[in-house]
Symmetry: C2
DNA sequence: CAGCAATGTTGGCAGTGTATACATAGATGT
DNA sequence: ACATCTATGTATACACTGCCAACATTGCTG
C-alpha cells in the first residue's frame, strides 16, 4: 500500500512520531506550554489520535521522561567506562556528563525533575525504575572505589547520595537559569562541574 | 464603612488574599494544576478580579516564588546566626534549613525552581534579585570562614556554588520524589542533609 | 459634590484535556 | 476470497482555562 505523500488513514508509527514531535515541541516552548492538540497538529493527525497510544497527557510526558532517564543512564555509564581503573576520575566524568546532558536538554530535564508529571506518591514503577538504574550505576562506581581504597569507608548509599545531590543540584541550577552569568556556555559548564566535583572529593575544610 | 459579612464590592485587600489562597491551592494540587479561575472562586471574587492585581498568571506565580525566596533567605540566615563563631557549623545548619524548608513546601519549591515561571532569559530582575540575596548570604558565610582559616583558600564563588549545588540538589531530589524510601520523614532529612554536607566538608577521598 | 482612578463584574473568545460515538483499514481465520 | 475482528484514526461535544473588552461600583480628591 503506497502511502504516497503520507495520506494514509493509518499513520503507521504514530507512537514514536508523537514522542519525537513532543520532544521538539517541549524543546521549543518548554514543558509548561506544551499541549496535546498542538502536538497532534504537528504530527498531522486529529487531536484525539494520541489517545490511542497514550492514556493521558501525563502518560505521554512520562514516556518522554523515561527516554530522558535512559539516555542519562547511558551517558553517565559511557563516561565512566572510559576511565575504568580510576574511580575518582570515573566519578568526576560521569558527573560532568550528567550536567552536560542537562545543559543540552534543559526543558526535558525540567520535565524529568520539575514536578510536571504526576507520579502518584512514589510507586517505584516504570519511570522511577529507570531513574534507579542511573543511581545504581553510581552506587556500583562508589562501591568499587571504596574497595580499591580510593573513597572513604562511609556508607555507600550516603556517598552516592552526596555525589548525586551535588551533580543534580548544579544541573538544576543551570537549567533553572539561576546561574546566568556564571555558567552559560558549554566550556564553562564542563570546567565548573569538574571543579565543583573535585571540591566534593577533596573537601572544603582546610586540613 | 462596615463590610459586614465581607459583602462589600471592594474586597479591601485582595492582593494579599490572592497570594495566600494561591499558596494554599498550590500546596493542595501542585503548581501544575493551579488555575486562576479556581483561585478567584476560592477568594470569592469574579474570575477576572485577579487581573486588577497581577498582570498575568505568570506575574502571580512570580510573586509567590518571590515570597518563597524571601523566607528561604530568612531561614538560612537565621540558622547561620545561631552559630556565629563556627563557620563550619554555620554552613551545615543553614544547609539543613534549606533542605527542611524545601521538604515542608515541596510544591512551592518546585514552583520556584521547576521552570513554571517564564523568566525571560535571565534578567536578574525582581525575582532573581531575591534569589541572589540568599546566595549572597552564603558567599559572606564562606568568605568569613576562609578568613578565619576554616575553609580552603579556593575561589569563594566556587566554594559557594559547590555548597549551594549540594544542598539544592538534595532538596530537589527530595521534593521531586526521587528519594522515596530514603528520606521521607523530617528526622531522616535533618540527619541526612547534615551527613551529606559533612561529606562535602571533609571530602570523599581517603586521605 | 463632581469627577476620576482604583477595583470589581459580566460576557466572550480561542485554546485545552478528555469522553463518547463513529469510520477505516490491516490482520486473521475459514 | 471473503467475512469479521481489532487496532487505529476521526468528529463531536463538554467543561475548563487564560485573557481581553466593556461596563459597574466605590472611595478618594479637588
Amino acid at each position: 500500500m503506497s502511502k504516497r505523500s503520507g495520506e494514509t488513514y493509518h499513520h503507521g508509527n504514530l507512537h514514536d512520531t508523537l514522542i519525537a514531535a513532543a520532544i521538539e515541541l517541549i524543546r521549543d516552548k518548554g514543558p509548561n506550554a506544551f499541549s496535546l492538540r498542538e502536538l497532534a497538529k504537528k504530527a498531522g493527525v486529529s487531536h484525539t489520535a494520541p489517545y490511542r497510544h497514550f492514556k493521558d497527557k501525563n502518560a505521554l510526558l512520562s514516556a518522554i521522561a523515561e527516554t530522558g532517564f535512559k539516555t542519562l543512564t547511558e551517558r553517565t555509564r559511557n563516561a565512566a567506562m572510559q576511565f575504568d581503573g580510576d574511580p575518582k576520575r570515573q566519578l568526576i566524568e560521569s558527573g560532568v556528563a550528567y550536567v552536560e546532558l542537562a545543559l543540552d536538554n534543559p526543558e526535558i530535564t525540567q520535565l524529568m525533575f520539575g514536578g510536571f508529571i504526576d507520579t502518584e506518591k512514589c510507586p517505584k514503577e516504570n519511570l522511577d525504575s529507570e531513574a534507579d538504574n542511573a543511581f545504581q550505576g553510581l552506587v556500583n562506581l562508589i562501591e568499587s572505589g571504596k574497595q580499591s581504597g580510593v573513597f572513604r569507608n562511609e556508607e555507600t548509599e550516603l556517598l552516592a547520595l552526596a555525589t548525586w545531590s551535588m551533580v543534580h543540584g548544579l544541573a538544576m541550577l543551570i537549567t533553572g537559569g539561576q546561574l546566568c552569568g556564571i555558567a552559560d556556555e558549554q566550556d564553562q559548564v564542563r570546567d565548573l562541574s569538574a571543579k565543583v566535583e573535585s571540591l566534593l572529593m577533596e573537601g572544603i575544610l582546610v586540613r
